[in-house]
Amino acid sequence: MRYHGAVIHLRVPGTLRYRDLAVRVVGSACKLVGTPDETTGPIRNTQWDNEVVSAFGEAFNNAAIHSYDGKPGDVDIEVDAGVSAITIRLIDYGKSFAIEEVPLPDLDALPESGLGLYIIRSFMDEVKYVAGSPNVLSMTKYLDPARRQVRQPSDRLQDSGGGDSRQ
């Protein structure tokens, strides 16, 4: 029997009150990634899960804080927990932003903000943002390190649109 993985759909209000719920769902979905027989392929570990959860949490923050900014609206979350990777699509209907205009933080300066996208770009292997209505942020992380391209966080984005600047 071939294992195809699972796609999980979740819709929550785009406020920080629902952040923990959404993060927990993604954390649980991480456990579905891979093959049922872990001897046939690369396996997850706690660090891998931590990186996915961290990146998603920052993405949710951005949707709640910057896209909606207190205005009502939903966030649709699609989690494709596959055999070799997890892909998370976070869809909001709020304000767009220009991802390529978000600068890398100067870590030597001990910044107190502006770290969210850096965390996303660092921990996920592919990050794509399509601005519009809706805005769609797609993030993929592979189980097998060999499938990852060695790039800097600033390179890990593929698309963008106009709008505000955010963390």
């Binding site: 952040r19 961290s54 923050n61 910044p111 107190e112 969210g116 965390i119």
Partner: protein, 99 residues
Amino acid sequence: MNFNREDDGDVTVLRISGSLDALSTPELRPTIDALVAEKRPAITVDLTDLRLIDSSGVGAIVSLYKRMKALGAKVEVVGLKDQPLAIFRLLRLDRIFAV
């Protein structure tokens, strides 16, 4: 998120547990402001029971560190593990805090 503060002589231990994120971090800010206002000489931030942290939570701890350092005080972070440790390492805060 839960936190508590204990003063023992010059040393203050600030224990934070649960999830320190964009929703909960504002609850911690008044305590940070109080520690700065009181010019406490030494602060230990105990994150042994911290399950999750995001950039907002990191920002609060870095703010505490920078403000206390400007006063000549010492701030250390102990007990980091799992997801919080991954974030601290990514942000190269292990240079500042001996984690």
